[in-house]
Symmetry: C2
Subunit: 569 residues, 2 copies
C-alpha cells in the first residue's frame, strides 16, 4: 500500500533475518548455564496465525476516514487489520509476548501516512476537531509502551505514521547542521548524509529500525554519545505540529541556534515529549564530517571495579574517546559465548595469553571484563586519544587485545534484539533496562540491581540471568545497561513485571535515573515521582494539561495515572 | 543589618572601586573619536542624594512583615528605603539611568533574607497565602529587567534575597559534583571550591557580583564555556521551592544525574525560568580539578572575516581550547585604547612588528582584529591544543603575540561594567547585547547589526559607537557580543530603546537568538515570539499559568504582555 517498511508484527527486524547459534559453539552451553534452557531440546514455539488474531473493529467513522483520505490520499489511510496490529505496540518483550499471545486489548482505529508537514497539520486539525487521540509512530522500536493506545480509550485512536517523511532536506555545511524529516530511519538518514561526507553520529542499538523523530521524542542516546552527545545535545532546530488556531497554522518552530538563554527551554520540553506536545515533523541536527579514523579497540580488565575505575578516570582526563564501554564479568562471558570460533576475543581466552595472565597476574576467569573503547577524528587525534586512554587502562591493570574484536563489535552491535526473539521462540523472555547515575554510585547500583533481580527470580521461582555493561560516560557519571532473561512459566507478563519492577526500584534506590535513553512511556511512569519528585511531576502534569487541554496527544503517557502502575496490567 | 553585600545603589560594583583613565593615554582620544565626548571637558554628573529619591511607602501590612520576621528573624526582614531601592532594579544601563534620575515607579515592599531552604519554604508559603508577588534576588547584576516589580502591581511585592545561602554544602569527589547553595556569588563559590582543589569554570563578565542561582535562572554562560559548557550543561541537580500543599513540602528536587531520558526535561524548564517556576535554593553542579595549565594567548588577524573563519575551523577541528574569542576591528581599537602604555598589545602595535606586517603582508591598521584563545588541562594537553589551534590561526593569516596580553585579559575581564559607569557619569550611555547564531550567519549578522545600530544613531541624531567580539564557540555556531555607547540627549531611555530595539531586531532578522546568556526578562520579551514562534510562546504561557495559577512568582517576566513592549516604557 505504501512503501513504508515495518518490522515483523511478531518480532524484531524484517522477515528472513534472525539469529543463528549453530556456528557459535559457546552459545548453547551458555544459555543452559544462565537460564537452564537446553536449546537442543527446547521446543520452538510456532508463530500464531495472523488471521486468528482477535482484533476489534475500528471505531473510526467512515466520514472521518474519508476526511483523512481527502487530506493524504486513499492509499495513505488504512483501517486494515495488519496495519492496525503493526501500529499497536513497540518491541519490548512485553509487547512481543502480548502480540504473540493474542493479547491485543486496543489497536489504533486508523493509520495515516502524511506526505509532509502541511498534510500532518491538516490531519492533526481534523483529529482534534473529531476529538480523536493522535499517537505518532516512527520506526516502531519503542520499548517503554509509548505507542500503545490505552485499553480503556473510548475515542477514535489515530496512529500517525511518519514513514513517508524521511528526506534529508538540506545541509548548512558551514555550520554543520542538517535539516532532516522526522520519519527518516537510521540507515536511510546516515546513507543520505554519508553520500555528502557527513555523519550524525547517533547509533542507538535500535538504529536500523528507529527514526529521528522517535529518537527525539524519547530523549535517546547512541553508543557514540561520548563524542557526539545525546540526542538532546544533537538537536538544535525543531518543527512540531500542534493544532492550528484562527489565523495561524500550528507549527511550533525552534530555530537552529547553538545555544540560547531563552528559558524555560521549549526545545528541551519537546525532546522527550513522546507525542504529548505535538507531532515532530523535522529537526535540524548537528552533523560532523565523516572522520578519517573511526576505530574501536578491545581491552580486558581483571575485574569490574578495575574497569569502571578506568572509565571514570578517562572521563576526568584530557582524553576524549568516542566510545567507553566495559561489560561486567557475566556479560563478558555472554559475549564470548555469542562469538564465532574465529573471534579474536575467544581466541585470546582459549589461547596462551589467558593462562599466562591467570598465573602471572592472578586474574580469575570468572572476574574478567571485556571493554570496548572508540577513537574518532583525524589520524593524529585518534592515535593520541588511544595513547592517553591506554595509559589509564594500564594503570588499572587492563590489557589491550587489538582492534579485531572491535571490528566485530561494530558489525554485531545492532543484532542483540534478534537474540531476544530467538530465545522468546524457545520459551525464554529477555529484555533490557538501563539507568544513569553519578560515578560514585556506579558499583553500588550495579551490585544492588544484581541482588534485586536475583531476589525477584527467587520470588517467582525461576532461574534467571542478569548482566550489564557501562557505556555513555559523562563528566559526572555514566549509564549502566542491564540485560536480563529467564525461562517463563504460566504468566510471562506477570513474571516479567516482578523482575522489571525490582530492577527499576533498585535504580531509583541507588541514585540512578528511571531510564537513560528509552523514555518513560507507560513502562517507567510508576517511578516518575521517585525520579523527579512530586513537585516535578506536578510541573509536567501542568504543562501537559495546559498545552493539550483536550487530551488528544498520546494521552496518559509519561505522567500516567498513579492508580494504574505498569505492574498491574 | 545582614552581612550580605550589595552593589552600589547607583552603579556597578562596590563603593570605592571605579575606572581610571589617567594612566591609559589612548582612552580619551578613543572616546572622543567614537562618541564625540571630550573627557577633559565633560562635566561629571554628580550622584543624586539618596535621601532625595522619591520612594513610595511599602504596601506590606505590618502583620505580614511580622509573619515574615517570625520565620527569618527581625534582622532579616526589611522595609527600609535603601534596601527596597537596592532590590528594585538590576544593573542594565536603563536601570542605572532610571535610579539616578529618580525614576523609581515601584520598589519591592519588603526584602527578606532566609537562612536556608526550610525558611525559604515558609516565606514562600506565607507570601502565596497573602497573595504577594515573590521576586528572587541573587547578586543583582541582571540586565534584562528580570528583577523589577511591574509598575502597576497592586499586590505586596516581596524581594527574596538569597545572599545568606552561599555555602558549598559538599563535594562528591568521585563524580566531580558539588552541592552549593544558590545565593553563593562567583568569587566566594570559586574560593570555597579552590580551597579543595576544584573549579566550577563558570566565569561570566558579571562573575564578581552574580550568583549561582542567578546564573541558573537566566540560563547564563561563562567565558570558558567552550570547555566547561553553559550553565545548562553544568547544572545537574536542583532544589526549587514552590508552594507547599497539604501533606508535603513544596521542594522540587531534580537529582544530580549525568543524563536522563525523562522528558520533557523539568531541569531545563527551571534553567532560565527567572523565578517564574519557584525559588532555586541549591544546585548540584559539575566541578573540575583545578587544571595544571590555564593559559590565555593573544593573536592578531588581518581582518574580521579571517578571525571568524579561524574560530569556525577550530570548532570543527579536533582541538578543544577553553576560550575562543576574536574582537572586531572596532573592539580591537577599544582594547588598545584601554591599555596601559606598558601593555604588550599596545607595545606590539606601536613597535616595529606592525609596520612590518603592514608593509610585508598588506595588513591595514583599521582592519586588524585581536583574538584571545585559552588552553586548559594537563601540560601536554594544553601544549597540544595550542599547536593544533595555531596551525589553524596561521592558515587564516593570523599571528601569535604571546601570553602577556592574555594575562592582562584575565585580569581585566570583569572590569568593563566600571567603564560603563564612568561614561554614564559623563553623559554617555553604553550597554551590551548578544546573540548566538549558526556559523553561516556570523558575518552577516555582525554586519547587519552594525548597519542597524548606525541607522538608529542617525534616527535619533547622535553620534554612536558599536563594536563586538565573537566568543563561546559551539559545534554549529557562536555568540556575537556587542557593546554600544552614545552621548545621550534629553531622553536617554527613549534613545536607548531606539538603539537597543534596532540591534535586537537585527539579531532575529539574521538568524540569531534574542540573547545568548542574559535571559529574557522584560527587556527581551518583545522578541520572544519571533525567537521561538507563537506556538512556542503558547507552550511557555501554558506552563506558567498551570504551574503558578495565582501569578505569584515574578509574574509577567519572560512572557510579557504583548501589548506592553519594552520600548514603550
Amino acid at each position: 500500500m505504501t512503501d513504508v517498511q515495518h518490522m515483523k508484527w511478531w518480532g524484531w527486524g524484517v522477515e528472513g533475518v534472525g539469529f543463528h547459534w549453530e556456528d557459535k559453539p559457546g552459545f548453547a552451553p551458555f544459555v543452559e548455564y544462565a537460564t537452564g534452557l537446553d536449546l537442543h531440546t527446547a521446543p520452538v514455539i510456532s508463530m500464531p496465525d495472523f488471521d486468528k488474531l482477535t482484533v476489534a473493529d475500528s471505531l473510526a467513522p467512515a466520514a472521518f476516514v474519508s476526511e483523512l483520505a481527502a487530506i493524504v490520499g486513499d492509499r495513505f489511510v488504512s483501517t486494515d487489520k495488519m496495519e492496525r496490529v503493526v501500529h499497536t505496540y513497540g518491541k519490548s518483550i512485553r509487547d512481543l509476548i502480548r502480540v504473540r499471545a493474542n493479547l491485543i486489548e486496543r489497536t489504533p482505529d486508523v493509520v495515516v501516512y502524511p506526505a509532509d508537514e502541511a498534510e500532518t497539520q491538516r490531519v492533526v486539525d481534523a483529529a482534534v476537531a473529531a476529538d480523536a487521540v493522535i499517537i505518532p509512530f516512527g520506526g516502531g522500536s519503542n520499548i517503554a509502551s509509548s505507542l500503545e493506545p490505552r485499553a480503556d480509550e473510548t475515542r477514535v485512536v489515530l496512529s500517525l505514521d511518519m514513514g513517508r517523511m524521511r528526506e534529508l532536506i538540506s545541509i548548512d555545511e558551514e555550520s554543520g547542521l542538517a535539516r532532516i524529516q522526522a520519519g527518516a530511519l537510521g540507515p536511510d538518514l546516515e546513507a543520505q548524509l554519508e553520500k555528502r561526507g557527513w555523519t550524525l553520529g547517533h547509533f542507538p542499538d535500535s538504529f536500523t529500525h528507529s527514526s529521528l523523530g522517535g529518537w527525539i521524542a524519547t530523549r535517546s542516546s547512541g553508543m557514540q554519545s561520548d563524542k557526539y552527545g545525546d540526542i538532546a545535545d544533537i538537536v538544535r532546530g525543531l518543527h512540531v505540529v500542534r493544532p492550528s488556531s484562527p489565523g495561524r497554522d500550528g507549527v511550533l518552530v525552534i530555530r537552529a541556534i547553538p545555544s540560547s538563554s531563552t528559558g524555560p527551554s521549549v526545545r528541551d520540553m519537546i525532546v522527550g515529549s513522546e507525542g504529548r506536545l505535538g507531532i515532530i515533523t523535522e529537526a535540524t541536527v548537528q552533523v560532523h564530517r565523516t572522520p578519517a579514523k573511526r576505530d574501536v579497540y578491545a581491552y580486558f580488565f581483571p575485574n569490574w571495579e578495575a574497569g569502571t575505575a578506568a572509565m571514570r578516570e578517562i572521563s576526568e582526563s584530557d582524553a576524549t574517546p568516542s566510545i567507553t564501554r566495559v561489560s561486567d564479568a557475566r556479560e563478558t562471558s555472554f559475549s564470548l559465548a555469542t562469538s564465532k570460533e574465529s573471534h579474536g576475543v575467544a581466541k585470546f581466552l582459549s589461547g596462551t595469553v589467558l593462562p599466562f595472565l591467570m598465573k602471572s597476574k592472578g586474574w580469575k576467569l570468572d572476574d574478567i571484563c571485556l571493554s570496548f573503547i572508540g577513537y574518532e577524528g583525524g589520524e593524529a587525534h585518534a592515535k593520541r586519544q588511544k595513547k592517553l586512554v591506554e595509559a589509564i587502562v594500564k594503570k588499572h591493570g587492563g590489557m589491550g587485545v587489538g582492534s579485531g574484536p572491535g571490528v566485530l563489535y561494530d558489525q554485531k552491535k545492532f543484532d542483540t534484539p534478534y537474540i531476544r526473539d530467538f530465545l522468546l521462540d524457545r520459551g525464554a523472555a529477555g529484555d533490557v533496562s538501563e539507568s544513569a547515575m553519578p560515578w560514585s554510585k556506579v558499583n553500588q547500583l550495579h551490585d544492588a540491581v544484581r541482588v534485586a533481580a536475583d531476589a525477584a527470580f527467587d520470588q517467582i521461582g525461576i532461574k534467571g540471568w542478569i548482566m550489564s555493561h557501562l557505556s555513555h560516560s559523562y563528566h559526572s557519571g555514566a549509564c549502566l545497561y542491564f540485560t536480563f532473561a529467564f525461562v517463563f512459566g504460566d504468566d510471562p507478563i506477570g513474571e516479567y513485571n516482578v523482575v522489571k519492577t525490582a530492577i527499576q526500584q533498585a535504580f531509583i534506590d541507588n541514585g540512578g535515573s528511571l531510564s537513560h535513553h528509552h523514555g518513560v512511556g507507560l513502562e517507567h511512569a510508576p517511578w516518575l515521582e521517585q525520579d523527579i519528585s512530586s513537585e516535578g511531576v506536578a510541573v509536567m502534569r501542568g504543562l501537559f494539561s495546559a498545552v493539550d487541554p483536550g487530551d488528544n496527544f498520546n494521552p496518559r503517557k509519561i505522567v500516567a495515572d498513579v492508580k494504574e502502575p505498569a505492574t498491574s496490567r
